[in-house]
Symmetry: C2
Subunit: 411 residues, 2 copies
């Protein structure tokens, strides 16, 4: 990809996405394999006025070796200095820019049981600090292609061509073109999804009913007074507006935890920490996932659902029209950041307390009492299809079509 | 470089160099640009029985941006969690493998004053922990070529050819060939330098006198009862023998701090944290560097000498015969790890308490009282030349030729 386009993309991420403020501390997390783009991002953050930019490097191949050779006890142990670092972070609330690039199969072969044990042990220590930061810092997840990921999306292309093709898709779905101002283009698009979110909030639906010929037959209750969100959020500490996902097409809220019934059938594969789950369905009873069937990755899916007490409940419902540029590409990205913006989806696990009007002020426990699910996981899976219909049911029983044949019922 | 050779080299570093023990923790520090070799090293450490392998990634281009944009105050501040991490390290004494790869000009343009301020501030907090670890952990510094470094050593070659040529030199100087066992080859060579070290220790010289036609005219006092070292050292905690530099050709000791006179003329450039110092001389009076002249990098050299109170005194004198394979290559590596093993050298700053027979048991303060210099810096510079003569003077005044015309006076 040409340097000029990379610079425009970095500018978009730092200004319209993370919205770095003067004298703010920034933490970039990225794979070591993406060091050239990290250099550009670092420079862009400093030019935007960052006080200090730190990078947390990851390396999937090294992590796979850790899981192969080191014990779950060793890997699951949070060292006192790691906890001190997390505590400091929860105090300072730096802006956090996460670059995704690994291929969906990066962690294939990893023992799902061991991964769950390690995650549970680490999250037990780390989660209270993460919860403390909720809503108080700017964050952004964006993508850069690795050869492995690009070859998965474009299996018939050579490695360099595949990377170039994936770069073009990332630019297109983030509205970065040769001759536009991507920040302005992004903001224009965000106004459309934010208008949809406002409409949904004003309807005040008590529940949503999903139906598709693929077997999806599902009802979920919503939280009275909860808002629907799109595109951006506001950092409650400094008032900075940021867009935490790029691309983003979804309009979403957190449903009432423990109040849903029926079956959701997946319409796209799920890549969870480098492990694939494909062609699956999840059945809920009394708000909890009570069974699941996956053609590929059954053990991984079961582990997700049983990761902790509330991983079996929903934390998010999100609506995405089939006209989404990600869906229109016809591509499967094998990456939730993209695929979740191609289709309606739900997430198992942690919800967003920010969707409550007074959410930023609530502790995790208070938000939980109001119906926001809490868990160490947040795993999206896609249920949108070309024939998906969603009906909104008001408290008085009135029914309003929300989605018809995979898109908004009203323009 | 072929995978088989890389594997032999990694095996040499992990087994003959660091000598990783069963259930030992290992920390690898390396540039993000070297991630493929780090993957191989990690696997080799785990196969050798490491309990856990952590990687501390560095990235010179990002560091240069830090020095360009962030304040000295921000960069010099050691966060509480960083100190906690260092304290933990000083407690656990993990094995530390440092991979050098950056080009000598990597930090060109960095403000030497700012760098000194930041280093002083950080070392003030960090140094007590480093001192606490002295002699209690295995460590190794070894090299992997980056394109920038390779092009500096082989300026007339293309980038790929230069990297390949530098790999060949690294393999050759570390005694790794297609068909040998590099661990055995290494050990055979180490016996030669260790015999020289034993001979010097037994001579019990009170001082050494250096002379060369280039202007070097210098005398340094030695510490009574101190030993000379070569090749390897023993971790006093677990008894593991390790070789902390690869390649290594030097026979060295720490001289009596504050007891030297005269002028040393450099015979190779010095690359200090990515900044070059070339064609320089340093004059000592009453054991302290009182003046220095450099054609290139005068400010950098002055900063080194004044980094702290004892940076102006010597911590090391080392003898390397002109037959060294590094010297025989006729190449200038622009990297101290190589160039110091091509020629006799001295180091400004910190000495080695391990050269005292009871050194491992001494605190830094106790070692200092016995004549071992202490400083936050340890900077080697080369003074060996084809005509260098070194005469050893015994306590009774007897003179014994040690070096004649740049090599050992006796075989």
């Amino acid at each position: 990809m040409e340097q000029k386009m990379l610079e425009k993309y970095a500018h978009l991420l730092v200004h319209a996405g993370l919205n770095v403020q003067k004298d703010q501390e920034v933490i970039i997390s990225a794979s070591v394999e993406q060091y050239p783009f990290v250099e550009l991002l670092t420079k862009t953050c400093y030019e935007a006025g960052a006080k200090e930019v730190r990078v947390e490097w990851s390396f999937a191949k090294k992590r796979l070796l850790d899981y192969t050779y080191a014990s779950a006890e060793t890997l699951g142990q949070v060292k006192p200095w790691e906890e001190a670092k997390m505590a400091q972070q929860a105090e300072d609330c730096p802006a956090m820019l996460h670059i995704m690039s690994d291929g969906p199969d990066a962690m294939n072969g990893m023992d799902a049981e061991k991964f769950a044990t390690v995650t549970q042990a680490r999250q037990k220590v780390m989660k209270p600090y993460r919860s403390k930061m909720d809503g108080k810092y700017q964050w952004l997840i964006a993508a850069v292609p690795s050869p492995e990921w690009a070859k998965k999306v474009f299996p018939t292309l050579g490695e360099d061509e595949a990377v170039e093709a994936l770069w073009r898709e990332i630019m297109r779905t983030c509205y970065v073109t040769e001759d536009n101002d991507p920040v302005t283009a992004r903001q224009a698009h965000d106004r459309y999804t934010m208008a949809k979110a406002d409409w949904l909030t004003k309807q005040g639906f008590a529940s949503l009913r999903y139906h598709s010929a693929n077997g999806t037959d599902f009802t979920v209750e919503l939280i009275p007074g909860a808002t629907w969100c799109a595109a951006g959020e506001t950092n409650s500490t400094n008032g900075a507006f940021y867009v935490p996902n790029m691309p983003t097409e979804e309009v979403f809220t957190s449903p009432m935890a423990g109040r849903c019934e029926g079956t959701l059938v997946s319409t796209k594969p799920l890549s969870y920490n480098g492990q694939m789950v494909e062609n699956f369905s999840v059945t809920f009873r009394d708000g909890k996932a009570v069974s699941c069937q996956a053609e590929v990755g059954q053990a991984v899916l079961e582990k997700i659902i049983s990761m902790d007490e509330h991983a079996c409940m929903l934390g998010e419902v999100a609506l995405v029209a089939k006209e989404s540029p990600i869906n229109q590409s016809g591509l499967l990205f094998y990456n939730t950041l993209f695929d979740e913006n191609a289709a309606c989806h739900v997430a198992l696990g942690r919800g967003f307390k920010e969707i409550l009007p007074d959410g930023a002020q609530l502790t995790v426990e208070e938000a939980e009492q109001r119906g926001i699910n809490d868990s160490i996981v947040h795993v999206d899976f896609m249920v949108g299809s070309d024939d998906l219909s969603i009906v909104g049911v008001k408290p008085d029983g009135t029914e309003v079509p929300v989605f018809v044949n995979g898109t908004w019922a009203t323009a």
